[in-house]
Symmetry: C2
Subunit: 318 residues, 2 copies
DNA sequence: CCAATTAATACTCATTTCGAGTATATATAT
DNA sequence: ATATATATACTCGAAATGAGTATTAATTGG
């Protein structure tokens, strides 16, 4: 019963912040290799929990102290962590199981070797704030149509058709980030697919690729965050201590990749009692200054599920 | 950078079925030891993904083929898998990280050494179908009040007070199963707390204990399933191919631990197009036979988030 | 002081969804 | 027929949603 299975555990973190209306993620990028999420091994001898291990080496490596963190998913796929091409820095014999985390912060300091990049660099099809990204109709859907057609049998074709419809059909569900990425991966529309399978790349490679399965972990992080937004006041982890309501709205929009209806957004925030005014005003370059608000921590006790159920998607810009 | 961290991965599965209005979970119980979820090691040499490893040995051990499965969480806490008392069957040197899964099935066959038990045996405070469980007012709340009072400092006390309120205060949120279990654990109201910390048990030990951290995994499973119910048609994984609408309602009620309003439940099911009638009728012992329905798989394509957002909690029984 | 700029508010309004209820009709076993 | 169950029909008010239109307010730059 206890045939022992030795693997090593890797911890990866999608550390997220929002700056000037862009959701940013902290990546490690040395020399010419792909961007990576900060990652490192879990050392069971020194840490009582996975999360404390994470906090510890993230602190060391990126000089960050994480605020809110959340475990995302544990990936153990052979071939997606250790690509066919061979890897450096890991024993090729030991299998790596990677546990992904989401962390939110408002600190933007950069450590050596790391930099902040907008997450839509990796997922350009996920930003619908200005309009539906043109690449969906011009590139993605035609390629996916071909993917459906190339299915080995009718049953697979039907399955693929459904997935294409759910992921990119009408009725955009901003939470299905991972499903969409996985579909694009399987359809050979992202570079990682060719890298992992050792095939020659053909056709368009969408978005900026990442090391190992890090883009998948980031997709999981975005999906989780977009979902959580609606029933937990997590945005505030990303805001300065005080902020204007419009800044708050812009942050939510940035994360969700959608435009919201201003009046309704405020009605919601007000009704939920998520914020309280500080009599102070913002100091804009031009125009009327807005009042500065702060997060009301008390709501956590008062309401069962305080969040910003978005929904009010506007067709045109704000 | 690659100081190697050797651990072994354990896979545990909460395999759930519903039988005669009780949610059941498959447990392994030999001799006098605590009930355990089926669990086993992940063998990286033989399996490409964690999930295929899980399906494989669950198949071997329990002769079950899992249908729907979902990863829950990865626990790596020292001390909660390998209790102070020492354990058998695992090298005490290797740290075990356990990945929990939820699996749904309608098959009720039992393999040797395993048996189906109602999950409310482990969480008696979670079943509100008949009425608010008396133990909450008579045992839990008084004990938690003491837990708040015994806090080392005022700040901790305030934190605890909030948690007690969120978990057991008015406004029952059926999804907070894990939060409640963790609170009871920390407050020393479940046996596992004493076992893990090596202290002498004192006070009431609520519910049936389980091996290792299996009750925590089961709590996670219940929470996840209760949540998922609302936006994905997962109940049908637990139903026979055909069923009456009342049977469906009873299954949802069993899982959610709540009573629902019959007319509204039907309105919902009908509106969502989740089921379709087969002209056939059920054969009850007495009384009017009900029509048999089947799940309309097509909704998965049609609607973005088909589920049974419950809510219609009735105060008294059906 | 005036125009331009930007934000904040005030209200409206129709549509859905929710939660809870009352009242009936229907099928079967005995 | 009666008891036992189930299935439907409707109603009704309260709340939440989604999308507007129209006004008001505070600054900066002339």
């Amino acid at each position: 019963m206890s045939k022992d299975s030795i693997v090593s555990i890797g911890l990866s973190a999608a550390i997220v912040a929002v700056e000037s209306e862009q959701p940013m993620v902290l990546v490690v990028s040395h020399d010419g290799s792909d961007d990576a999420l900060p990652f490192g091994p879990f050392d069971p001898a020194h840490h009582r929990t996975l999360e404390s291990g994470l906090r510890n080496w993230v602190g060391e490596q990126t000089r960050f102290d994480l605020g809110y963190t959340e475990q995302l998913y544990t990936f153990g796929d052979k071939g997606r962590h250790t690509p066919a091409g061979g890897d450096k820095g890991h024993q090729s014999s030991a299998r790596v199981v990677s546990v992904g985390y989401l962390a939110l912060t408002r600190r933007m300091k950069e450590a050596p070797e790391t930099q902040w990049r907008g997450w839509y660099n990796y997922f350009p099809w996920e930003d619908w704030r200005d309009s539906k990204p043109a690449m969906i109709d011009s590139v993605i859907l035609p390629a996916l149509k071909k993917f459906v057609k190339d299915a080995p049998d009718a049953e697979t074709a039907e399955l693929r058709r459904e997935r294409v419809n759910v992921c990119f059909g009408d009725g955009w569900d901003e939470e299905r980030v991972l499903e969409r990425y996985e579909l694009l991966y399987e359809a050979g529309l992202v570079e990682e697919f060719y890298r992992d399978s050792g095939q020659a790349s053909k056709g368009p490679a969408l978005g900026t690729p990442m090391l190992f399965d890090h883009r998948r972990i980031l997709a999981t992080a975005i999906a989780r965050l977009r979902g959580k937004l609606k029933y937990r006041p997590v945005v505030f982890e990303l805001m300065a201590p005080t902020f204007t309501l419009l800044e708050l709205q812009r942050a939510v929009e940035a994360l969700a990749g959608l435009r919201l209806h201003k009046q309704n957004f405020r009605r919601l925030v007000a009704e939920q009692g998520l914020v309280e005014g500080t009599g102070k005003l913002s100091a804009p370059a031009r125009g009327r200054p807005a009042e500065l608000f702060r997060f009301r921590r008390e709501v956590l006790r008062e309401r069962p599920a305080p969040g910003l159920r978005l929904g009010g998607r506007r067709t045109r810009s704000a």
